[in-house]
């Protein structure tokens, strides 16, 4: 993705160089461009219009993460949704309704200050809190899977409330 964006971006630079430099340079530039078969007048430019070079491709995980937010956080030993979580999930529901061909898995997680079995159960509860709210907002339940990872996959590792809070989460991942 990044490589492709860079290629398109450099192509743009070359095109603009062609239009703004004097004839001699322009001819040299066109000479080198002639060897690149993709650099026809409207081929790559049409491609550029379909891409957002400043962000993620719409309808992808990167888009969800950057523009909507892929995760919500929970209190210690809690699985109820905070007002902030509800707001974010309303955005996720709109996004999911916009890209109705996508299925997602909601991954529940817990911090390391609980025991293994309980955390598996708690993380499954968290994933289901998110799932149920998305369903209430009109997302088809068949598009939503859940999994509980317990404390096995922390996002941040540290021995303070700051890191634990970031691990008590449910992450929506595009399948």
């Amino acid at each position: 993705m990044l490589a492709r964006t860079l290629m398109i971006f450099s192509a743009l630079l070359i095109v603009s160089a062609c239009s703004s430099t004097d004839d001699q340079t322009s001819m040299d530039a066109q000479g080198s461009m002639a060897s690149d078969s993709t650099m026809t007048a409207d081929g790559p430019l049409a491609d550029i219009y379909a891409q957002d070079v400043n962000g993620a491709t719409p309808g992808t995980q990167a888009d969800l993460t950057a523009n909507i937010g892929d995760r919500v956080f929970f209190g210690y030993d809690r699985y109820d949704l905070t007002p902030e979580a509800r707001t974010l999930l309303e955005g996720q529901a709109n996004w999911l309704n916009q890209y109705s061909n996508l299925n997602v898995t909601i991954e529940g997680h817990a911090d390391e200050r609980g025991t293994r079995e309980y955390n598996l159960a708690l993380s499954e509860r968290r994933a289901n809190s998110v799932k149920n709210y998305l369903i209430a907002l009109g997302v088809d339940p068949r598009r939503l899977n859940t999994i509980g990872y317990g404390k096995e996959r922390p996002a941040v590792v540290g021995a303070s409330e700051g890191s634990w809070a970031q691990n008590r989460r449910a992450v929506t991942t595009v399948q």
Binding site: L120, E152, V157, G158
Partner: protein
């Protein structure tokens, strides 16, 4: 101990040999002073058997010392070598003079059929009596196993309780950063030897448990079929998905007869306890409650189940009969209680407790009385019982590395008195230990 020696010396003066009290470690007392024991290298018929005899004695000495109940005497204090013992017998008066009360001698010889014959004797030095004498004929590769069996015989004769040295531990071997921790099932002898990996680390695995009757292990794995409980056959290496459950299954344990596995199933945000009959694959729901009910463990008679539940608002321990009736809460202390495990003797339940930012391992009677905390740490979790119910194993996790961003997990053992905590060395980090029954 000094008191004991003085007492025994006194008895020696006033009593005829036959009436003297036998040496014995009294485990009914809280803390036991380790009994000094001399373990003479076993006499070997030839150099290779002599080397085998020395190796066996090393294993026996380390087993007995690790139990915390024995103190092997340094070989430099021995008054007779194995050759002299084999030729002349034990010169008891000389051993007595060194303060030795218990002496182990033995021989390793070639049997008529070409196999190895190992014979050992446990002597009461004061009464000059043999307490145990047994011979084993086996192939030389089995020397370690024989050393564990001999250790168990010595332990049983001197403590009056069954030993636990001829047993194994299955656990989860851990490598890599916490965000992408690689976890593999591994198995080893209880002293850490004969280490072997059972899975390749591709799938995240948790909470292995030994079958009480067969060479099988039940565990939980995040395989490509989602988080589920599996059965692993040690002899065939085969993994089998257990049961047809919607949602996740986890926290498995065998019933005492080995015919059933009890586990948790989580569906739609609710975790309950189910029992699966291994032969018929029929599943029975045991709890039906909107709370988290998990970490079930049977009593050794199979009649009761202890489990954890947050039905009262926070994680606490409960008992119920094996069909789910007569639920009784047994913990009322501050903080939270988790992963209870019934002792194979039936008298105690071990658990993890969390209170004010610390984790504890403790024991409590099945009726909820006599709670006793045994060890604590920043993070300690997941107790498992030695087959004789005398030793607990568990794992501890601590923050290491720059900024505490890595985790170190190690397995420990401890006597139920709370003394003699020891690190059980594993090749990589280790967690979720589960003790086997005595090897078949």
């Amino acid at each position: 101990m000094i008191k004991n020696i003085v007492l025994l010396a006194f008895l020696f003066l006033i009593l005829p040999l036959s009436a003297r009290a036998e040496i014995r470690i009294d485990l009914t007392r809280g803390v036991v002073e380790p009994l000094p024991i001399a373990i003479s290298p076993f006499y070997g018929d030839d150099p290779s058997l002599g080397s085998l005899g020395r190796d066996m004695v090393g294993v026996i000495a380390s087993n007995l010392e690790n139990s915390g109940l024995f103190k092997p005497i340094n070989a430099s204090a021995f008054v007779q070598g194995p050759d002299s013992i084999a030729a002349d017998g034990v010169r008891f008066s000389e051993w007595r003079a060194t303060g030795t009360q218990a002496l182990v001698t033995g021989t390793a010889t070639k049997a008529a059929d070409g196999r190895t014959r190992v014979e050992f004797h446990l002597w009461d030095v004061l009464s000059e009596k043999q307490l145990v004498g047994t011979a084993y004929t086996t192939t030389p590769e089995n020397w370690r196993r024989i050393a564990h069996i001999i250790s168990d015989e010595i332990y049983k004769r001197l403590t009056g309780e069954e030993g636990y040295f001829d047993s194994r531990i299955v656990y989860v071997s851990e490598t890599g950063p916490p965000q992408r921790r690689v976890k593999r099932l591994a198995i080893m002898d209880q002293d850490g030897q004969n280490h072997k990996y059972l899975t390749d680390g591709r799938d995240l695995v948790l909470t292995p448990r030994f079958s009480p009757t067969e060479q099988k292990i039940t565990y939980m794995s995040f395989g490509n079929r989602g988080p589920r409980v599996y059965l692993y056959d040690i002899s065939t290496g085969r993994h089998e998905l257990l049961g047809d459950f919607p949602g996740m299954t986890f926290a498995p344990r065998f019933s005492p007869d080995g015919r059933k596995v009890i586990m948790s199933q989580a569906t739609n945000g609710n975790t309950d306890i189910y029992e699966l009959d291994l032969a018929s694959k029929r599943k029975t729901r045991i709890t039906d409650n909107s709370a988290i009910d998990t970490a079930p463990s049977y009593s050794p008679d199979g009649r009761q189940i202890v489990f954890e539940s947050d039905r009262g608002g926070s994680q606490q321990l409960y008992t119920m009969n094996s069909s789910g009736g007569n639920v009784q809460r047994i913990t009322f202390g501050k903080g939270r209680y988790a992963n209870p495990v019934w002792s194979p003797r039936g008298d105690l339940i071990a658990f993890t407790r969390m209170y004010q930012g610390k984790f504890y391992i403790g024991v409590i009677r099945p009726d909820g009385s006599g709670e006793r905390l045994i060890t604590n740490a920043y993070h300690v979790e997941g107790p498992t019982w030695s087959p004789n119910g005398r030793v607990l194993s568990y794992f501890k996790e601590r923050a290491v590395g720059a900024g505490g961003t890595q985790r170190e997990a190690k397995i420990y053992t401890i006597d139920i008195t709370g003394y003699n905590e020891r690190w059980l060395r594993t090749p990589r980090d280790g967690s979720d230990p589960a003790w086997s029954p005595i090897n078949p």
